[in-house]
Symmetry: C2
Subunit: 695 residues, 2 copies
């Protein structure tokens, strides 16, 4: 936290001048002592508060916060949960600007705790006092030494100053990760344990660290979102200037259960979350190591200008493994191994040993030297066909020495494409990891982590380039006039038509009416036709035997019509032209409990549901979002001539936008909207079936 | 390498009494010196050989291997490649039992090197001398200190003795991995660098370490297979008694290219390799860290008796992350989070703090103690609904101490279900990893690696249980009588029928013949029918417009028949009943260049090829193999009532076995056999189209 900051009420939390510890203790093993000790060791004037103690470590102890002879910026409350509401009231009365109640025992434990939490929230809110937590380790700002964490430093290393802001809903996840990373000297601009989020949440912190000049990357560990739409807005304000990385736990059904019992969180549907993070450009990660691995890469080196990766190593086997990891789509990142230009190959040939392999992956061999390695890196940097470089730093061989670290760092700083290092080794290897980290070369123990970091840099580059492309804006919501009842299929299709999503020619025959004479081959509804019951009460027509396909003649239609009239006397019947063959997709909208109205696009038909090949985005979406949804489907090859299939992608995108707009326009009344299948033909698209449930 | 071993010619390599270094050097930085020094430091009597030097480090140097006054078990040759064939000849003449030429410069560099390699091979083969390499680091046997590796110990730690035999085609991959693992005290029974495999290959070593009492797990890094069928046989001899783990590099097209340029290897089709490894019960891994991670788990603790995993930790957030990793099918292992029994929950409730979460994942919280943690582990061990336990060893909190390591080790040793530990931490954490390793508790830095290790233990358990199930044996090959020409569709179908794979009722009309009068609705070929050209020259009937579906009447058939007769006057035409609706699958056979005749089963139809949802196995297969192939498909839900679909799985398995038998019987003449689609109906299956290419 260096340099000028815009004034923020959160400054009391991250840049306090005066602090106090309510519940400070004389006993070194007590939380109230540890917190007091570490706050004193930082540059913050800290007052201990405890009515039953006169002094702690030679410092006068106050009976109450109101006796402190200074305006307190930050009160760390180490009392047990039942005593916290009263302490908060005293802080509010004394004009304390921010408080961190560290104890657990609040909403995460049940109704009694939740009641305590409500009291904290109300008191603070009325007084305009900011609260972090409760149930939190608080904050750490390595650059200033500010440290409210009650884990002892002998067992839990603190990281040095750096540029990663780490916002964690779980304090334990936060400190264990920082301990693990501090071992290699990985630095952080700040750590915040969100705890139960009664006041301060991830969204406000996203803005705060978005504006913090000491922070270059935001790394989140979240188990739930305090406000999904607020998160989207906050991320959109920072994501173009600073990368955001997120470990969102509670993905699986089991994980979601665990999240509920852990912090009272309710996990949203992970598929929606996944789509929204992609839509926002947030880099999603899946474990705590990957969280920092990605953050370091994004903090230290530029995004990759493309997907073509070059590898240079002294260990040929590593090159083979890396090539797999980079290029494979299963257990790999589906990137490309760069095809080196002839000039590059010639340079590599002249600057390395005859036994070297000068194609990508470049293997300068165990007899290669630091000079050869740096020459090889230079050649790859100069090759316009290379977008990112992975370089082995392996000191097991005789002619590679530690100066390689400095040479790489020099190049990594200057280059417009990223250089990532990997190490596989013991004591010397760990030392190299520390040196590389100190010079801000993203470096990883093992090939996989290095390849994964490059994939994060490629994703960031692609996101930024997508942002640069001109994109037609999503339309504003226009309220739509819905009848006060559920809609039949033909009514939903009429509605879709007004949004530009057409259906096959059709005729609706209300209850009691005869089969119109016009329904003959050559008439207004071309044959063959399909006969369906069109009624909101029948949601699964096939199961209800309420649909008959391939009716080729008037006689066949009449026979089925007579049967349906008898079985469904009070329902409207729908006669519709059979659609031609084409690609069947599914497009739908739901209201996600975290992110609100959300759009789904996926492969339709029998197989596709089996493979659950769908993508979600929060609404509204623009055409760029929709194209990105299509590109993210596993079966995306269908859009580019797979098996000679012609697919009108432009019309599909238009239709998806239209369906999204309809969902937006329905607004709060939407429950679900399903167009399934949406038939994508060589020219145009058609909704073959559609359902809408509103409230 | 302790205990009695059956006598083997490889003992000269792994248990030499007398060794020599040909090319020994006085210069400490030279390979010829390093190897000599390390061999002397081991318990092996070692003679230096170099005609231009009289002594090295006070040891008399011999001008030639034939002057050495002892029978040499092992000669390490540190001369450059061009001098190696002559050195090999001298060794052979002197009766040396085994040689390790370490230098590169052989087949991996081109034809000249390949010629040198052939000389080495021929000389050794004639003399009955064993050769490891060339282009190898040789061997390391930590228990005896035998060490032929030319990387200096100051830069590359040697691991302690352990029970993992590590066989690596790449020396650099081998030593860097051992260096990295030695940092945590991970032990190995032996390391072997295969290099260019002119003589000794992975198959012989599989048998050797299969019999080695010091080895409990075999870990392979391979870029190609010396002999795929030989590998299958060797693995089958050891896999039930010892787990085999493999990192097979060269998976992707790019990786395969790299493998070619690296060791002259030709990579096989990875999908076949993948299926064969699964068939054999080899645990496949994807990077060098995972290789040892899996080997350690399999070496130290028993396989999991089922898929239900319990987690116990002091950090709730880790539990949420682990639950995701365990249960999620995307970025997870698709296992189950165990549902704890009521007794277990009651025990956990009584032995942990009130704020603890006693459902899986169990969170004893940061206030939990070592005693509570061990009590929780005991409760989980006693719960029959738990098959594997992941336990956090996190010393950041105040009441967990290092005695947890001993308590866990005691339980891990005694338990019939596996316990795996994870650590997330810095200096203290690394120390805990070392202590856990020393006591053979598989322990990992990070949640992901721990969950992955458990997945390996689950896979091992499932493999062993599959082996126990009675399985009908695959039949022997019976030569089949094939005409000396390509077969038309109807001929392939006749052949399939003789293997029990039927097709719809059909009639073949040879060129020149009229449409038979019998082909009418109600006749021997029930209508509607399909008309096709049946001729070996037409391999893509749809593209050739040589198929017409849905012919419902004699008139429609006659009209299409007339047209086809005109367009294909010299071809046989096939009239076949239209098949009913059903599940379309594809079954085929190819001859893989590594593993020979191999069978493929997958989802058929448009979507399935898009998703490439197929499984391979080497032939012959038994019914258990085929069922496992079906179970490994992403769309396997179709076999268990998905969307009400009825599928005759038994008939499918029979048909796949029949097709496999046909491929085996065709033998060497097989190029490809495709049954696509194979229609799986509620009762029975039918081949709707079939192609066979033989040579």
């Amino acid at each position: 936290m260096t340099g000028p900051l815009p004034s923020s009420s959160l400054d009391s939390l991250f840049r306090p001048q005066v602090a106090c510890v309510i519940g400070a203790s004389q006993h070194p093993e007590k939380i109230g002592h540890i917190v007091f000790q570490y706050l004193r060791e930082s540059q913050v004037r800290t007052y201990p508060v405890n009515p039953s103690v006169s002094e702690i470590d030679g410092v006068r102890c106050y009976a109450s916060v109101k006796e402190i002879p200074a305006r307190v910026d930050l009160a760390v409350i180490t009392l047990p949960a039942p005593a916290v509401p009263e302490a908060i009231r005293e802080c509010a009365a004394a004009g304390v600007r921010a408080a961190i109640p560290v104890s657990g025992g609040f909403a995460e434990t049940g109704p009694a705790g939740a009641a305590l939490e409500r009291q904290v929230k109300e008191t603070a809110s009325q007084a305009g006092m900011r609260v972090l937590g409760p149930n939190t380790l608080g904050v750490l700002v390595p650059a200033s030494g500010l440290d409210t964490m009650f884990v002892v430093k002998e067992r839990c290393q603190r990281p040095p100053a750096g540029s990663i802001a780490f916002i964690s809903q779980s304090g334990a996840t936060g400190v264990t990760v920082m301990d693990a990373q501090a071992y290699y000297g990985v630095g952080f601009s700040a750590f915040v344990g969100l705890g139960n989020k009664v006041d301060i949440n991830e969204n406000e912190l996203c803005d705060y660290f978005g504006d913090d000049p000491a922070t270059s990357v935001l790394a989140f560990y979240l188990e739930d979102f305090a406000d999904g739409r607020g998160f989207m807005e906050a991320v959109r304000r920072v994501i173009r200037k600073k990368p955001v990385v997120m470990l969102k736990a509670g993905r699986s059904a089991a994980g979601a259960r665990a999240a509920s019992s852990h912090t009272g969180a309710l996990a949203g549907e992970d598929r929606v979350t996944d789509g929204v993070l992609r839509q926002l450009g947030v880099h999603r990660v899946y474990d705590e190591e990957e969280l920092v691995d990605a953050a370091r890469a994004l903090a230290y080196v530029p995004p990759a200008p493309g997907r073509r990766v070059a590898v240079v190593t002294t260990a040929g086997g590593h090159g083979v493994i890396l090539a797999d990891e980079i290029a494979a789509t299963v257990h790999g990142f589906g990137l490309e191994m760069a095809t080196l230009g002839p000039d590059t190959i010639a340079r590599l040939r002249s600057e390395t040993l005859p036994i070297a392999s000068v194609r990508n992956p470049v293997d300068i061999t165990a007899s290669g030297s630091t000079t050869m390695m740096t020459a090889a890196v230079d050649a790859l940097l100069d090759d316009p066909a290379v977008d990112a470089i992975i370089c082995g730093v392996l000191l097991q061989t005789p002619y590679i020495d530690a100066t390689l670290v400095d040479e790489l760092a020099k190049r990594a700083r200057a280059a417009s494409k990223p250089i990532v290092a990997y190490v596989i080794g013991g004591a010397v290897g760990h030392e190299m990891l520390r040196r590389l980290e100190a010079l801000h070369v993203p470096a990883y123990q093992g090939t996989w982590r290095a390849a994964r970091a490059v994939a994060a840099l490629v994703e960031r580059g692609e996101f930024l380039r997508r942002q640069e492309a001109a994109r037609p804006p999503a339309g504003p919501a226009r309220p739509v006039d819905l009848p006060g009842r559920a809609l039949a299929e033909h009514e939903v299709k009429d509605l879709l038509a007004s949004y530009g999503v057409v259906s096959p020619a059709r005729m609706v025959i209300p209850p009691g009416q005869e089969l119109p004479a016009a329904l003959v081959p050559g008439g207004p509804v071309p044959f063959p036709v399909v006969l369906k019951v069109s009624d909101a009460s029948i949601t699964h027509k096939t199961e209800a035997k309420a649909v008959r396909l391939h009716l080729a003649t008037r006689a066949e239609l009449a026979s089925s019509f007579a049967e349906f009239r008898e079985r469904f006397p009070d329902k409207s019947l729908l006669v519709e032209s059979m659609a031609p063959a084409g690609l069947e997709m599914i497009v739908g909208a739901v209201v996600d409990r975290t992110f609100g109205p959300s759009l789904m696009v996926g492969m339709g038909g029998f197989w596709a549901e089996l493979y659950q090949d769908v993508a979600f985005r929060a609404l509204p979406v623009d055409a760029g979002d929709v194209r990105d949804m299509l590109a993210s489907l596993a079966g995306r090859k269908v859009f580019s001539g797979y098996r000679g299939l012609q697919v009108d992608v432009d019309a599909l995108v238009e239709a998806v936008m239209g369906i999204g707009q309809l969902a937006m326009d329905i607004g709060d009344r939407l429950v679900t909207l399903d167009v399934n299948p949406l038939l994508v033909a060589p020219h145009g698209v058609m909704a073959l079936d559609a359902k809408l449930v509103t409230r």
